[in-house]
Symmetry: C2
Subunit: 242 residues, 2 copies
DNA sequence: CGAAAGATTGAATTTGGTCAAAACAAGTGG
DNA sequence: CCACTTGTTTTGACCAAATTCAATCTTTCG
């Protein structure tokens, strides 16, 4: 269950074992149909949809990365999820979108009308179940994030974040200890409920402690995975245990 | 959408207009079957299920209140939801429970095996859709809470919490400005990511400011709903707007 | 009633935020 | 190729909000 941490924007395909390649076998109806779906290309910073828009489609990221977030009138922002290639977006939307989705770089998505999705789900109960499970996984991820943000210290949050990215890499069969951050410090900060300064400081501290290496501020090398894992738990003496 | 704040543990019935009474008309299949389902009574502090248990049933609270939470090994706790009469519990569970459900007082629930739920959902596609929507609403609630905990100050969190309870009362046709807190300060604290002391202090401050009244520390009277709403937004000059 | 659990209040401490400046990186145009 | 601009990241000094620790007060319940 812990392995699920942050594993949000559930891919509807079964969670692939490490052996599966990026080009997953599209054996189910949804995958097939999406494969034939319209393609849309987004420039960096372009929005796929915004808070309040009518939820007309679901999407699957093909290339690039998308940041999903919500804003408060006064400018405070909560990043809810980062969608990687293979991830579905917009599954949970009912009526209007409750959040915005913005490309973090040039990004390609496949699109599919919600109406079509509904039809498919009706004709194939197994698909309906899959969707349900995908949503359920999103819920769990959201709660995991809630937990992290609510209960952990800054250091623990950053550690947990890095670990989650590691696991994501592993799951898609990439190098597990070298991760490229497609998001800015600002995105990380708004995801973890911190400021950019704190994120930066924390990363620097991890570097000085020899836990990670940071060359271009976009490339993180995990030197001591155990230390990181330890930190992500209450290992560094966390906070109020009441 | 904002009105959804904290409206978690979605009731599967349509969101009833304010006129609807507690004894909602059970027109759909699920309601009927649950109405005929087995009853289980829990004493205060008794668990309905625990983290890691196999998810065998879904439940609907009939009388009393249930607290849903997750724990870290070191004792830190995150309350994820409070379930009121009419609320469903366990909808999102896949395989094992990711959280624990504990009665906050003597509580009665109706139970229904997940297998039965699956069958029902297969025979009635509309029910499947309803379940999906219920889960989706839970997801939104989780994200709303995430937002609150992550971005708001202590005062704002408590204000938002009280307001959410107000709305809940309203929705079930109860007095909107007198709310009884079925949960302890500890529960509130673990829900909002604060300490009991901070919760207590914040409530005291609200009382001194004449925004609420607090007689038995369990009964909150909202004296200035607008002020509370204002606070819940960034009205009291919130935090880092970057 | 009296014990135990829960809630409040106060004082000291700490974490993380704010503000401000400097360092870097990437891209543009001369 | 270099100066120049712009945007992001890092670093430091200071400050405020929330936690910790500790003591007291209330409520609940046997």
């Amino acid at each position: 269950m812990l392995a699920m941490a942050f594993t949000t924007t559930a891919d509807v395909e079964d969670h692939a074992p490490a052996s599966a390649h990026n080009v997953a076998v599209e054996r189910d109806l949804l995958g097939e149909r999406l494969g034939r779906g319209a393609i849309r290309t987004l420039e960096a910073k372009e929005h796929l949809f915004c808070e309040g828009d009518v939820a007309s489609h679901v999407y699957r990221v093909e290339v690039g990365h998308i940041c999903i977030y919500r804003m408060m009138p006064d400018g405070r922002r909560q990043v809810v999820d980062f969608a990687y290639p293979g991830d579905m977006i917009g599954l949970g939307a009912l009526g209007d979108h409750a959040d915005s989705a913005q490309a973090m770089e040039r990004t390609i998505v496949r699109t599919m009308p919600i109406a079509t999705l509904r039809e498919l789900a009706q004709s194939d109960t197994r698909l309906g179940l899959k969707l349900y499970e995908a949503l359920s996984r999103e819920l769990m991820a959201a709660r995991e994030l809630l937990f992290t943000v609510s209960q952990r210290t800054a250091a623990e949050r950053v550690a947990a974040f890095l670990l989650a990215l590691c696991r994501r890499s592993e799951r898609r069969g990439e190098a597990a200890n070298e991760i490229v951050l497609p998001m800015t410090r600002m995105d990380i900060a708004d995801f973890l409920g911190l400021t950019i300064e704190t994120v930066s400081r924390t990363l620097t501290k991890l570097r000085h402690d020899g836990v990670i290496d940071l060359e271009q501020c976009i490339l993180v090398t995990i030197l001591k995975p155990e230390a990181l894992a330890q930190l992500a738990q209450g290992g560094g003496e966390g906070r109020h245990r009441n």
